[in-house]
């Protein structure tokens, strides 16, 4: 199989997955039929009003027709109106998506290089004192809930020291200084959670490569250790490491939801949590589709990069 064929196939699987996910999102939120009408009306739901709303929203149509209408609207960018405030969901999301991308982008920029470095350092001398410190610290970090890290940071930096705000809501129009101050604690918390997973996985990936016969050969030839790691092991570990990075950026999604809520950050994650609490079904559907699509996109790019990075596929016999 040649390389374009493989990539096209992976792209196809990606698109199919998005469809399956959209089906799950739709079915998941529509398990209770007619609930939307009740949700809009709340206490004042008389049978006539419910019937009215159901007719207006087209809820009486069969499920598959509603699904395709919803999907069609979604693809054309019409995300519907919020049940909670009647506003356009697309506007709400546009307002907040930038903030969420800023938060996750900065986190990724810091966490990715740092964890690769730590993973490489740990793998140079497995079982050594540095490796033991890195491994046990990251194991501890993986085990603790992300809000514990956040609470401890707030306790120290906001309450005792008074250096940084404990609430990071951005309403737009802040100057750069204020934005940096608001982002510092959420970014540090997220870096900690992502860093731990990514460092451990990088270490495992590099150690796996180091165990291969080619590397043993280099050792026996007398190549210095740093050269082996940088020039022999690292190129071969690129595919698994890229995979690690993509998987961990996917981890960020659950981290983002918790941390945005914790710091009252005006982002998509908190918007979605508010949507769940007020049972704003269209809003939750839209947010879930955005988060899931990004997750699938990241996983798909990881697979495609490993296909491209694999010399056996690039140069078929």
């Amino acid at each position: 199989m040649n390389i374009t064929h493989l990539i096209l196939r992976r792209l196809g699987i990606g698109v199919a997955t998005v469809f399956i996910v959209s089906l799950l999102v739709f079915v998941g939120t529509e398990i209770l039929p007619g609930d939307i009408a009740h949700a809009i009306l709340g206490q004042g739901a008389t049978p006539e009003l419910v019937a009215n709303i159901r007719a207006r929203l087209g809820l009486d149509d069969p499920a598959h027709i509603r699904y395709f209408r919803w999907l069609g609207n979604l693809i054309t960018g019409d995300l519907g109106t919020s049940l909670a405030n009647g506003g356009s969901i697309a506007d709400d999301i546009r307002e907040r998506a930038g903030n969420t991308f800023m938060l996750s982008g900065i986190t990724a920029l810091i966490a990715v290089p740092l964890s690769l470095l730590l993973g490489l350092i740990a793998s140079t001398r497995p079982g050594g004192i540095v490796d033991r410190i890195i491994s046990s610290t990251t194991l501890a970090l993986i085990s603790v809930p992300d809000f514990l890290i956040a609470v401890l940071l707030v306790m120290f930096f906001s309450v005792y020291m008074g250096w940084l705000p404990s609430i990071s809501s951005l309403r737009g129009g802040e100057d750069i200084f204020k934005i940096v101050r608001a982002l510092t604690l959420p970014v540090i918390t997220l870096v900690f959670t992502v860093l731990a997973h990514m460092t451990r996985m990088t270490r495992t990936a590099v150690l796996n490569v180091l165990a291969s016969p080619a590397i043993e050969m280099a050792f026996l030839k007398g190549v210095p250790k740093w050269r082996i790691i940088l020039l022999h092991a690292l190129p071969n570990a690129i595919a698994p490491i890229i995979n690690v990075i993509a998987l961990n950026l996917a981890y960020l999604i659950s981290g983002i939801v918790v941390i945005e809520t914790m710091f009252n950050y005006t982002g998509l994650g908190r918007l979605m949590v508010q949507g769940v609490i007020t049972r704003d079904i269209p809003l939750v559907q839209a947010c879930a589709m955005i988060f899931c699509s990004i997750y699938i996109l990241l996983n798909m790019s990881a697979d495609i990069i490993s296909i491209v990075a694999n010399p056996r596929i690039r140069h078929p016999k």
């Binding site: 399956i20 209770l32 194991l139 603790v144 809000f147 899931c292």
Partner: protein, 286 residues
């Protein structure tokens, strides 16, 4: 197995104990004790308002960990919260474990179309960030404890399925399975008597990992306000409801969070120790 070999196995286990493992086991025993006997050892009832002042610091008015945002005893709240967290997580891990490993073994044993179908379904579910699935179901069905348990167990079982299937795939190609098949044993017998004992050590470790995952997941949901609802509280909900206390400089939101960390770190370290000791490893998950 004769009693003699059994005895020596326990003795081996005892000799292999490292100081870290002893500490972790001690922590877990304490946690189990607290969750089982919470109503007897808690100094006050979880709902009883003890003090007029909210967010008393630890030690004030002889409340060991101070009071919460309504003036209830924090220590008693934590005892009860630990109980809720542990009960829910154990149920989730057990459910996920049975469903996941049963289907995993089935897929590996039956192979062919069954394996392909099950694995595709699981692939599709894993392509779904679990927090999204949970949030969608909570939106549709509301945050009730049974819904949460079934949702998270369902999400978790897909991970267990992958591990169990990968383990069983390695076992199913062994000669003794072939022998058992030729002997005329049924699939159920093979799964129970051949695959399960051989996959037991890594699966036990996986159970520990699923348990910590369940704790972190249910705590995160409760922290977001989508999990256990007042008047009950698990450890995550305790952190959430006492967040304001941070501004008053009390540790009220920190104690329950540390409690979660204590459970999860202990379990993870024991799993690590157990895997090293039994020289088993889990199939790569990434």
């Amino acid at each position: 197995m004769t009693t003699e070999t059994k005895k020596s196995a326990i003795l081996d286990l005892y000799e292999d104990l490292t100081p870290t493992a002893i500490l972790c086991i001690f922590c877990l025993v304490a946690i189990v004790f607290v969750s089982v006997f919470a109503p007897f050892i808690a100094p006050f009832d979880e709902a009883e308002i003890i003090s007029d002042e909210s967010f008393l610091s630890a030690g004030d008015e002889s409340l060991i960990l101070g009071s919460d945002y309504l003036g209830r005893d924090m220590l008693s709240r934590i005892f009860y919260g630990t109980r809720v967290t542990v009960y829910i997580s154990v149920t989730i891990a057990t459910l996920a474990f049975f469903v996941g490993s049963m289907f995993g073994f089935l897929a590996a044993t039956l192979g062919g179309i069954y394996d392909a179908t099950l694995s595709r379904v699981v692939d599709a579910l894993i392509a779904f960030p679990s927090i999204m699935l949970a949030m969608i179901l909570v939106t549709a069905l509301g945050p009730s404890i049974p819904v949460l348990i079934i949702t998270i167990a369902f999400i978790d079982s897909t991970r267990v399925y992958r591990v169990a299937r990968a383990l069983a795939m390695d076992i199913i190609v062994q000669d003794y399975i072939e022998v058992a098949k030729v002997r005329g044993e049924g699939y159920g017998w093979i799964m129970w008597h051949e695959i399960l004992p051989n996959a037991f050590a890594p699966l036990a470790a996986e159970f520990g990992i699923r348990f910590t995952y369940a704790i972190l997941f249910i705590s995160a949901l409760s922290f977001l306000g989508l999990g256990v609802q007042p008047p009950h509280a698990d450890l995550g909900a305790l952190v959430r409801e006492n967040m304001q206390g941070l501004l008053y400089g009390t540790g009220a939101p920190i104690y329950p969070a540390l409690c979660i960390a204590m459970i999860t770190i202990s379990v993870n370290l024991i799993v690590d120790w157990f895997l090293k000791r039994s020289d088993a490893s889990l199939p790569d998950e990434f």
